[in-house]
Amino acid sequence: MSDSDEAVTSDAEHETDGGERPQTHTIRLELVDKPGELLSALHPIADNGGNLLSIFHERGNLTPRGHIPVEVDVECPPDRFETIVSALRDEGVNVIQAGAERYGEELTLLLVGDIVDTDLSDTLRRIESSTDATLADLSLSAPDGRGGASSARLRLATRTGRTDEVFEHVHDVADEKGLHVVEPLVEVSE
């Protein structure tokens, strides 16, 4: 990957135009098993001033979605790192984990019952605070207005491997409020 060397040197003594010494980051990606996928996934790294140190391409091993996991070590100034991750996302590359932050799975679930009058904002706040899940999307359907049986569809972003824990907490919160949870059968996102 010598073509990326032009952007950032690996010389720790040398300050880059990012203003700070480069650091090493690990990015985990998921790639579709198609020719050219790896190459197009690596472009945004070089284009944004990242220096590729190594690529671990786990061909033969599949993620729960049936994609190929790829681990990339990148050296870049800290302030460039977020730019690289967003550039990868803009290219349609699925970033599972970047640096210390894990972007794991997305879970979609339904809550049914008297959702509105049991304080929906409180329900959502507690789901978020009792787990490390964040609410990525919410749809509400309350055709009978307040008080009637209504439904909410929640999309939660969570760390890989934490889905059981998230469901447990969602159930706890729902039980307390007399709501029902409809879990997805397979706990991986599309």
Binding site: T108, S139, S141, A152, R153, V182, E183, L185
Partner: protein, 315 residues
Amino acid sequence: MKLAIMGVGAVGRSVVDLAPDYGHVVTAVADSSSAAVDPSGIDVDAVFDRKEREGVVGSGDPEDALDAEYDVLVEATPTTLGDAEPGFSHVRAALERDRHAVLANKGPVAERYGDLMALERESEGTVQFEAAVGGAIPILSTIADFGPSQISAARGVLNGTANFVLSRMAAEGLGYEHVLAEAQDLGVAEADPAFDVDGTDAALKFVILSNVLSQGERVYSLEDATVEGIRDIPASALDLAAEDGRTVRLIGEATADGVRVGPRLVPQNDALAVSGTRNIVQFETVNAGQLHLSGRGAGGPETATAILSDVGRLE
């Protein structure tokens, strides 16, 4: 083979009707209060005429059928929970006489599996119960062919009534009560639908699957299952699911974690998202990926074919 049939509901009657096609002779039938016994084969028309007119199948006691001459006892009385009686005693009577027992009744296999296997060990007779899980679908014989140790989990839809209600709600945007009433008119749901819509029926079937898959390592009963029904699912839940390309089905699971039945979100185009009264089971195999078996999971003739296949395996 000579068959004694306990229970003359839709399933028992169908076994009586279809037995000659399979080369078997029905030597005894019994309902809850009476029995008809004839070692050379009962007069089917006379028996059912009498059932129609007088509410009894014959002048004997039900015990007479248990004492009759037969090779296989077919236990097709209604499923009961807890002690699973009187079905369990019927099967015990057959095994103690070293006769085979074929069950459509889920009670003894789900609630007293350990007792049942202990009786079978002491007997020359064999216990079969393909008809107790998924009607006409050869689920248990597939497990036997594959080998239970080669199957790591079973999931699926094994209650046609609940599946009918959910798939109609999703397709028509109608509420639960409305669709349930329609299902009752069509004869798809019982007057008292609790057993189906509360998930009990599906749970019993997945308890049986767990018993078979665990090969005696652990014995399950309904008590061990986590069960949730579909009564609380509003039409709006199915709408929200559909917006996202999903739907809700009453899904059962028999896995290493135990038995669980409840409404679950599944992709609309998922193999398990069958519509109407259709049943489906998905096996997770150790070496061969997923395997799906689908078909009619209830009904007299459908369940009778499973019983008669079991009888055939005993010949």
